[in-house]
Symmetry: C2
Subunit: 200 residues, 2 copies
């Protein structure tokens, strides 16, 4: 069967628990890698090149964009951020599944460039639970919470455009569902044409 790893786009609103799901998934599944973004902003204290970000000069960043070697990119507060394709492809060739945690606009860009990617949207059980989770963090003022909730709603409306939705009610079962999606995607006949042809 297919030995190539998958490219997985993972999105979901703040408070849905993407990070927790991802952290637990990485612990359970040794063949999963997390994509590293590139940025033109300066490294902060303790940040490591190639681990936290690929820290690039502005000309180098633009060169990668012009050569089609960024899967997506955007400007934020005067700095560029993007997803370099080469490290992802290298990991996939080694048989690793590469997960890209990204907001919905970036996710849509990637789906266009890499239609073979698997996209998963992490949902909260309900908007009420999401609101409770945001409040429990206790770090945000009321206004900020209302902003986050409004942003969450407009993000959730994009869930339809993802291949799969996983409800993060119980963490363990959400992680297992993501792991099962990765396993069954590898059983798709479209990913196993070589295997079928070799058999014949």
């Amino acid at each position: 069967m297919s030995g190539k790893g998958l490219l997985v786009v993972l999105s979901g609103p703040s408070g849905a628990g993407k990070d927790t799901v991802l952290k637990s998934l990485m612990q359970n599944e040794p063949g999963v890698r997390l994509s590293v973004s590139a940025t033109t902003r300066a490294p902060r204290e303790g940040e490591e090149d190639g681990k936290d970000y690929f820290f690039l000069s502005c000309p180098r960043f633009k060169e990668l964009v012009e050569n089609g070697k960024m899967l997506e990119h955007a400007e934020y507060c005067g700095n560029f951020y993007g997803t370099p394709s080469e490290p992802i492809e290298a990991w996939q060739a080694e048989g690793c599944d590469v997960i890209l945690e990204i907001e919905v606009q970036g996710g849509a860009q990637i789906k266009t460039k890499r239609p073979d990617c698997v996209s998963i949207f992490i949902l909260p059980p309900s908007l009420e639970v999401l609101e409770k989770r945001l409040r429990r963090r206790g770090t945000d003022a009321e206004e900020a919470i209302q902003k986050r909730l409004a942003a969450a709603k407009s993000e959730i409306a994009q869930a339809m455009h993802y291949d799969y939705v996983v409800v993060n009610d119980d963490l363990e079962s959400a992680v297992e569902q993501v792991a099962e999606i990765l396993r069954t995607e590898k059983l798709k006949s479209i990913r196993n044409q070589d295997f079928i042809e070799r058999m014949l």
Copy 2:
């Protein structure tokens, strides 16, 4: 999330072990049902109506075909065989996944009428293993074995048109793969539009 059951088309060449996979799946998964075919041939000793087949008169069979209530049908040795859609839809509405074990031509007919179905092709690990399995049965003459092998090759060539391929090397893992396909198909966003809309 979606409470409706899936319609699953399962095919594979003789000797791939479809029946064994199905039998074991039915034991492990209480929510899975096996579709019952309809036929115009007379019941044989011990056969039960509604269990082995739905035994129908010729006019009744044709009426179902004309009213679009057969998902597929074919004539064989002067008798009609087909798949009535109503019992399948009733089970799906109850939340059961309904499996239809069928050869590749019938599978293609169903995919046209029910594009929401999930199609799975059971493959042997290799043609050599398939040949060994056919010989081990010890019931067929050499000529019959060669015919079965040739038929298997032309069936396997159709595996590309199925959504998933499952290699039946180790029975337990093949059954688990089919069960995982059923679980993850229910996470597809297209099957959960109502859930997402209700959340918003």
